[in-house]
């Protein structure tokens, strides 16, 4: 692997930047503008009162509000939400999605739903074969959480067993617990943590490049599903 720029190149580059920035009366180490956190929270919800109601982490009523807001915003972004694995497998079967991938950690959950009387006959693998990527009609992976304000699902390298499993199949199911739903974009930014790669997914992959007409499922999933269940390992 080739390394970054050498010291001399770097020094020349930064000399130009410093010269361009020029003299300042006072070097200001920290921004003087308004705090972005309070602003984003209040402005984004049209009012501080509602912002507080959504954000109060310990309050069970606030948790319910976050869940309700998440569902509403996810659906308005053309995503779908399930709280019952049985209903999910029935829906998958109705879509004709009879084979897919499931994160090994979630396999017991899926297997239990498929073992119940009357459950449809779906099959799944817990190992993703890249060479057969188009054989997987659905991919079920864990998510790092969600954002109520925008109906967004949060994936990262730590929770999502395979990046490709959450991307290549037509249907992606992200599994997380209600407690993992952040109130606002700004809260999710604060929770980025140490993961090298975090991706927020807000509804299915889409384009409007052809005459401004909305088409879903361009390169990523055409269906973005949230399965919100209390116990996720």
């Amino acid at each position: 692997m080739i390394d970054g720029s050498d010291d001399a190149t770097r020094a020349r580059f930064f000399a130009r930047v410093s010269e361009a920035v020029g003299m300042r009366p006072v070097k200001q180490p920290e921004p003087a503008y308004r705090d972005a956190i309070a602003f984003a929270r209040e402005a984004a919800t049209n009012g501080a009162a509602e912002a507080g109601a959504l954000a109060a982490a310990a309050d069970p009523a606030a948790a319910d509000k976050r869940f309700a807001r998440f569902r509403e915003r996810l659906e308005s972004a053309h995503g779908r939400l399930f709280t019952d694995p049985d209903a999910l497998v029935a829906w998958l079967a109705a879509q004709g999605a009879r084979h897919g991938y499931c994160d090994p950690a979630l396999a017991p959950l899926l297997a239990a739903a498929l073992a119940r009387p009357g459950a449809p006959s779906l099959t799944f693998e817990t190992h993703l074969e890249r060479a057969r990527i188009d054989d997987y009609r659905f991919g079920i992976t864990r998510a790092a959480g969600a954002i109520a304000e925008t109906g967004t699902i949060i994936l990262d390298d730590a929770h999502t067993a395979r990046r490709l499993a959450a991307l290549a199949p037509w249907i992606h199911v992200a599994v997380f617990a209600p407690a993992q739903i952040h109130a606002h974009v700004i809260d999710a930014i604060a929770a980025l943590g140490d993961d090298p790669n975090v991706i927020w997914c807000t509804g299915p992959s889409k384009t409007a490049d052809v005459e401004g007409i909305l088409i879903e499922g361009v390169h990523g999933p055409g269906e973005q599903i949230a399965l919100v269940v209390p116990a996720v390992s």
């Binding site: 080739i2 720029s5 930047v17 984003a40 188009d134 992959s205 490049d209």
Partner: protein, 475 residues
């Protein structure tokens, strides 16, 4: 930055428009209008005072620019600490060589690319092709542009100038199935073709919308999921980033992401917002084990050190294009550079450096109506900057020569600009415009004549606003 070679050079905007035909005019007009309406609706739905949001976003970007000598090294240190290799490229040639060296070191022969204005700016795709590396654009619009050997005509919607029939023809010509202009079929065919490209590529190249100095995170937004595929399917990620993309802290992203998607496409958030620093986690089987970030100057420090610094706040949302009456009429290609519309009229001549004169007519292609400033998510005073640039163009002797040469050859925006920049000429044009309704085709000014060959000219209705305004002022 070089301007587009050949092709458009000797054509006046009017001639250019005539060659495009009414279908293209309609496509650009409708596309930009719809974009503007969606933007306005969602900002007013979600914010009691959208201007407050724009001012804060502008203050964040301005602060970052004013202290770029502090924030850029911070971002660099964070990226290095998280395993990314950081490169600095003074100009386009250095950036291209850097990419090539990375590819050669990996033995990479196939590259998938996400949409990136900076890679357009340095003309990376043709360069890689010249060196035997296949480089495929994966954004649907950019892919069509690539197979048509065309140029993007809008910062966010690269094929705003094409209708579905042209796109269907392009796919058929490229061998992706028989003609079918259903947008869904077009999209599915591109999905199948590009999926194979991702899975067989050796590296993925992207830009970045923002870089946080605090954490080193690059932020990239897309709707299609193509940049995610570039990072999930290949072993090497190369990000090309203009130095103006730095923001001070992660929390500032909360403001900028909220304003970017709403301004660009009328969404709360784009479908995919990806935060990247360093190679994939060790336990993650998919994606890049190698990450390179190339910070690009290419004329930006020149702009940073000038009275035009504010233009570097731009977050490439395209809102000023959508609202601009000149852009709507002329379309993006008329600006003869990567950045079109009002922002391009400022940025393109500045980034052209020594070739300023070749694009010095662009700042004149504005009626200074101020709409670009009103919609700008980072509150850039574009009309002020255009005026300053016009002064600079006047003061530059060789520019005057260039401009008059251009005018006599009937090129560029000059004729339009001459009228738009002089109130008396504008009034005169409005007052006498009605005469055109009665002129026989052969006696019309040449650009209009050419235009008339492919158009039914609508009756002249200009001047009504000025009349109304004069009466209103009197009463």
């Amino acid at each position: 930055m070089s301007t587009h070679p050949g092709g458009h050079a000797p054509d006046a905007v009017d001639l250019f428009a005539a060659a495009q035909g009414e279908e293209r005019h309609a496509a650009v007009r409708l596309g930009s209008k719809a974009g503007h309406e969606k933007r306005t609706e969602i900002l007013n739905r979600d914010y009691a005072d959208p201007d407050d949001l724009r001012r804060l976003a502008g203050a964040i970007k301005q602060h970052a620019l004013d202290h770029l000598d502090v924030y850029l090294p911070r971002a660099e240190a964070q990226l290095r600490a998280h395993g990314a290799r950081v490169h600095f490229a003074t100009d386009a040639a250095e950036a291209r060589e850097r990419v090539l060296a990375i590819m050669r070191a990996r033995g990479a022969l196939r590259v998938v690319k996400a949409k990136s204005m900076v890679t357009e700016e340095i003309e990376l795709g043709p360069f890689l092709a010249h060196h035997g590396i296949e480089s495929i654009e994966t954004d649907l619009g950019e892919f069509i542009v690539q197979i048509d050997d065309d140029h993007p005509s809008h910062i966010v919607k690269p094929i705003i100038h094409k209708n579905r029939r042209e796109i269907a023809n392009s796919l058929e010509r490229y061998g992706l199935g028989p003609y079918d202009d259903t947008p869904e079929v077009i999209t599915r065919r591109a999905r199948a073709y590009l999926r194979n490209k991702y899975l067989t590529a050796d590296a993925g190249i992207t830009g970045a919308n923002f870089v946080s100095a605090e954490s080193g995170r690059l932020v990239l937004v897309t709707n299609e999921g193509n940049s995610r595929f570039c990072l999930a399917a290949t072993g090497c990620h190369v990000a090309l980033v203009g130095i103006e993309k730095i923001v001070p802290r992660d929390r500032d992203l909360g403001v900028l992401l909220n304003v970017l998607a709403r301004s660009a496409t009328g969404q709360q958030l784009s479908v995919y917002t990806e935060f990247m620093r360093g190679p994939r986690a060790p336990a993650q089987p998919d994606g890049h084990e190698e990450m390179h970030v190339i910070f690009l100057d290419n004329g930006r420090t020149g702009v940073l050190g000038s009275e035009y610094r504010e233009i570097l706040r731009c977050i490439r949302c395209g809102a000023c294009l959508n609202v601009c009456p000149v852009y709507r009429q002329a379309s993006g290609h008329a600006y003869r550079s990567v950045y079109s519309g009002p922002v391009g009229a400022v940025l393109s001549p500045l980034l052209a450096g020594g070739d300023f004169a070749t694009l010095a007519d662009l700042p004149k292609a504005s009626s200074l109506c101020g709409a670009c400033n009103e919609v700008c998510p980072v509150d850039i005073p574009i009309p002020d900057l255009l005026l300053r640039l016009r002064d600079r163009a006047q003061q530059t002797k060789d520019v005057a020569g260039e401009a008059s040469a251009a005018a006599s050859a009937g090129t560029s925006m000059t004729a339009w600009a001459e009228v738009a920049t002089r109130p008396w000429a504008w009034k005169g044009a409005l007052a006498t415009g009605g005469l055109v309704n009665h002129l026989p085709q052969a006696l019309r000014p040449k650009p209009l004549r050419v235009w008339g060959q492919s158009h039914v000219q609508p009756p002249w209705r200009g001047g009504a606003f000025r009349k109304w305004f004069a009466q209103r002022s009197r009463s």
